[in-house]
Symmetry: C2
Subunit: 218 residues, 2 copies
């Protein structure tokens, strides 16, 4: 599948490299068509990897993975023509973290709204699936490195077909069916985005990011 990965940070790079590894082609999108971090990744990643503007990546991608910072993903996707976005699945792994008030960051959208919902409202003809946003990127793409993958990845979204697409990618990353917890529609993204403040405190207490939450059921 041709996949657009938006964002050149550690999360974007980790996701993009793993997508190549499992057989997809990836266009890494950023503000500039000649972004240096994207160029370095393309050099390193080799066959199947390319770079472009956000709009270039979206035009080429059958599916969009959003790994941009804070709430910038809406502007990034809006830089593409509406018809290039319509009908596509947007897997949103970003979080509305606001670092402007110091550490640990707060959330710029919270409580009675979520960034996932904002994204869905901004692109009503696309299908937003919020997932993977509750953990360190190393675990996103390689869950088996912790407790043989026996921990939880959440999923929120309005469209069943888009969720099936997202789940297929999770499976390719190594997630077991039993580890995927579908919370319901995109409003449930409020729950997973609001997990970030706890994630940050646990990170502070443990001093490691390679932990995850498991929902333990009877």
């Amino acid at each position: 599948m041709h996949i657009a990965v938006l964002g050149t940070g550690m999360v974007g790079e980790t996701i993009a490299s793993r997508l190549l590894e499992v057989g997809h082609t990836v266009v890494m999108g950023s503000r500039s068509a000649t972004n240096e971090k994207a160029a370095a990744w393309v050099d390193k990643a080799g066959a199947g990897a390319s770079q472009g503007t956000f709009a270039d990546a979206i035009a080429a991608g059958e599916l969009i993975m959003l790994a941009t910072k804070g709430e910038t993903g809406i502007e990034a996707i809006a830089s593409a023509p509406a018809q290039a976005v319509a009908g596509k699945t947007i897997i949103d792994i970003s979080n509305p973290l606001d670092f402007s008030k110091g550490m640990p960051p707060t959330l710029s959208t919270v409580n009675d709204d979520s960034f996932g919902e904002k994204l869905q409202r901004a692109f009503p003809d696309a299908h937003v699936v919020k997932t993977l946003n509750t953990m360190w990127c190393g675990l996103m793409v390689n869950p088996a490195m912790l407790a043989d993958g026996d921990h939880t990845v959440f999923m929120s979204g309005n469209d069943a077909g888009a969720k099936t697409q997202a789940k297929r990618i999770l499976t390719q990353f190594g997630w077991q069916d039993s580890a995927v917890l579908d919370l319901g529609d995109i409003t449930t993204a409020r729950g997973t985005e609001m997990l970030l403040p706890l994630w940050l405190r646990i990170y502070g207490a443990l001093g490691i990011g390679a932990f995850n939450f498991k929902v333990v059921k009877p």
Copy 2:
């Protein structure tokens, strides 16, 4: 130990009954000295159980367990003379849930503050420990009923001695040492209170409340 349990709801009653079971005496506090739910509990619970106003309970209690609704706990504790509160440990198991805008509830304090911190600011001479607020009350007092207790209870607070007291009670309830995750000072209560929105969505997806989060570490 003589313990004040503030609140006559399901959480207060569950906590109060279990405290009796493990050998404490309990005064259940409420707005009125003759509260009917508290009276019914005292009748049922028998020896070691009594009831009174919030102030009565606090006067009798060497330790306070706060199981009131929303943010009403501050008013409840403020109804006692300051010297009856000073120096005591307040184990805060409440959450600032706001049901006024419909279901699922939102949080009335969130993001850059927490109810735990508000409580500590309101009673600077007491020692607030936030714990147990991230799960169904049946699990709070009997963690072994789920996965042999192999799931997590968080703890936040500024005072090491108060945390030791709180941990002793957790142990009496059946919590293993390895299940208790001390997140740090009371500001970390922002993290655990903000877990409630996710808890509510998981409850919605699973249709059961007898689940809990486990922090899975390498």
